[in-house]
Subunit: 119 residues, 2 copies
């Protein structure tokens, strides 16, 4: 039960679209990630996902609209909804989602992280 | 599926220790609150709680230690652990906890909010 400093945690890594686990509660995972460029279109069958922008901004693309998410803002993506994060410049985000969540949803490719790295 | 701006939401109210619901996912509630002064000692039998400081700072008191939580930091309080938030000056926090959580845990007093206000 110590304070968790997001900026300190973010300084521990530099790669993109590689989430790190920083906390767990109620079977939910709290992760941080740096993102830059386009992720892959995907959806999660069973999991809603929260994205909170710690630093920078990104666009959350849906099939029918694009939502810009700025620093200090968050967006909740309900289960089953196809989405693709796209960051023109590097952004740092906090993710909150069930422990069962796979980052690329039903898709498996080079971006898929099956093992979760805790920092 | 729109962006949720924390500062805009915080500007909608001014009372202390009265959390507002700003989002829901995976049976978890995302709330914001302004806090000032001492809350009541309490614990939650079934729920872990996350406190993230959006603005300001506060002390999370435990029976055996005090943890200062600064802006940009968070703390996870596991279920069953007695705790008491104390804010010397007004702080704004984000709470993440199961939808079943009662703010004062097993205690019922004037601080208890049974109905959750959504903003």
């Amino acid at each position: 039960m110590d304070a968790i400093n997001l900026m300190e945690k973010l300084n521990l890594f530099s790669d993109h679209y590689h989430p790190r686990l920083i906390g767990e509660l109620n079977s939910q995972h709290l992760k941080i990630a740096k993102i830059k460029g386009e992720f892959v279109w995907h959806s999660h069958e069973q999991e809603d996902e929260l994205f909170f922008v710690i630093k920078g901004w990104f666009n959350m693309e849906f099939r029918d609209k694009i939502v810009r998410v700025d620093e200090g803002e968050m967006i909740i993506v309900p289960r089953g909804v196809e989405h693709r994060p796209v960051a023109e410049e590097e952004a740092s985000i906090l993710l909150f989602e069930p422990a069962s969540t796979i980052n690329t949803g039903a898709i498996r490719n080079d971006l898929t992280h099956k093992k979760i790295d805790r920092i």
